[in-house]
Symmetry: C2
Subunit: 329 residues, 2 copies
């Protein structure tokens, strides 16, 4: 049986989730791809820390790009570099790539997609946006005829958790944040989440997917949740509203408009009932109407799920662009 050899860049929470899932789902992946799937190579900064993995550990990306046996590269590194340079080299070496790196992809996604097209390889990035919710594949493959008119979304689980706690437990922002940190939902430096940068990156990725371009970043209002007080929450409660941190994007007069900000939602809003660390996306389209997806916005397994579903679409031939007249579903 033909084998698909995978290289994994990074072995943090997400990387471990990918490795574990490929191992636990051997049979299923074999059914889908017709091949056996192995993680053969791990690129990690400190190989001595990861004695338990079953494969070659390397520190130099060239070991991967120059190895013709490696078919596909999963990237689960934090931060723009060296992730971007690594993926660029992998694509140039003719390897499919799958990334979970939102900040990097918000900045370099267009270039990487173009590079992948030139090198006839696939690039999967569903894990960059809304964790396990397969929103990228959904818009790309399942909502092709529909024009997306507007997206409103809760794209950051940390801020949604904090806002939920502030309301449910009458907690102050600082206390809710501290609790989120204790539970591992927020980083020691929470700026990226609570100031809305994380949601902003994801929104820019959605913009490029839907409109094939991003708005000028300076034109996008980005307000975090740090200034929301217990009084704000209480006042919203009185009128049966909830403050949610909403990322939205739509087009007006041919121009892309986007913003990330706290919004008071009435009870009948599709994002009103989204609680805790969940993410949700409401898509308004011209044929279907409104569709809302809700699911886990982060975590090792949900993120691994998105990456491995990207993998399955690549190897089951379903992301193939060429038209076929004889098709069986």
């Amino acid at each position: 049986m033909k084998a698909i050899n995978v290289a994994l860049l990074g072995l943090g929470t997400v990387g471990k989730g990918v490795y574990q899932t490929i191992n636990t789902h051997q049979e299923r992946l074999r059914d889908i791809t017709g091949c056996s799937v192995h993680v053969s190579t791990f690129l990690i900064e400190h190989p001595e820390k990861h004695a338990t993995v079953n494969g070659t550990t390397v520190t130099d990306i060239r070991t991967i790009t120059e190895n013709p046996d490696i078919d596909i590269v999963f990237e689960a590194i934090v931060g723009k570099e060296p992730a971007f340079s690594y993926l660029k080299k992998c694509i140039q070496a003719g390897k499919h790539v799958i990334t979970a790196n939102k900040e990097m992809f918000a900045v370099h996604g267009k270039e990487l997609r173009e590079l992948a097209r030139q090198h006839h390889v696939s690039i999967g990035y569903d894990a960059t946006t809304a964790g396990g919710i397969p929103i990228i594949q959904m818009i790309q493959h399942v909502l092709q005829a529909n024009n997306v008119l507007k997206v409103q979304a809760i794209l950051n689980g940390t801020t949604n958790y904090i806002l939920t706690e502030m309301r449910d437990q009458n907690a102050a922002f600082e206390d809710a944040l501290q609790q989120a940190q204790q539970l591992g939902y927020a980083e020691a430096d929470p700026t990226n989440d609570v100031e809305g940068f994380d949601a902003f990156y994801k929104l820019m990725i959605l913009s490029e997917l839907i409109y094939n371009e991003q708005p000028n970043w300076n034109d996008v209002k980005r307000i975090g949740i740090t200034s929301i007080s217990e009084k704000d929450i209480a006042e919203n409660q009185l009128t049966n509203k909830r403050i949610k941190h909403i990322a939205s994007i739509w087009k007006e007069d041919g121009r892309i408009l986007a913003k990330v900000e706290p919004v008071s939602l009435p009870r009948d809003h599709p994002l009103y009932a989204i609680e805790g660390v969940d993410n949700a996306i409401n898509i308004e389209t011209d044929i279907l109407g409104e569709l809302t997806l809700k699911g886990p916005g982060a975590g090792a397994l949900p993120t691994a799920s998105a990456m491995i579903e990207d993998f399955c679409l690549i190897y089951s031939g379903k992301s193939q662009k060429e038209k076929s007249t004889v098709v069986v579903s």
Copy 2:
């Protein structure tokens, strides 16, 4: 430019929605398929009633099966027959088919899928289940690696509307039903909806998609909403619960278990907040966790959306089963 010629069976609410959408989305369909898309032939019982359509109206299915220029057939007829016989003949004549007919597909879906496989054509049936929500394509293409452990769903908009009205307006079942009928949400004979047959058919279609088989129909508990009283609703209100009509399916000890029945849902249940004529599906999987989709469960355009997205998947080659090593997404 190559043309794709469509035949449309039935020109009721759904048929008209399909016809209208193909006409309004000419440019987009051309971009997706690389072809111009025309509805060239209409099979309708009373052609004299539909003088306004632009194409050939016929009453004999052979006019379609024997016409080599017709590539694909959209079926929007009510009831098992003649829909099943028609689709069978179309598939045997080498034409792709797309259906919105849930009762027919719950009974004959397996046979039609097998027949399509033999004749190397595609069969699209996303419109049979949950209206515009692309649940079939989602499970088929975007959740391939994930094992679906359990599905809980609101699959009938009529009953959900009635239950919502009973609670919100303190209405008796009969009054809420009458209002649903006046608004066109319920048929003159509402049995199919309020006794749970409609939800049951959709659940059986999901069963076959997920487990590749259906449970014995006699083993599936199916309880409608006709016996729910104002007192039941009020008692649930007191404990912050809501009665919803839930279709669920899961496996236990290798056996498929399924039921359709009213359930008291607590506030934190993912289907608690689904109101009015909306449908929603909560899927529990082994990698991702829980994913919920919410959207319009019926209506001309949502149903047309599901059918036309099936069409796009067929003609963009994305439902192709054959493995491809060179793929670009």
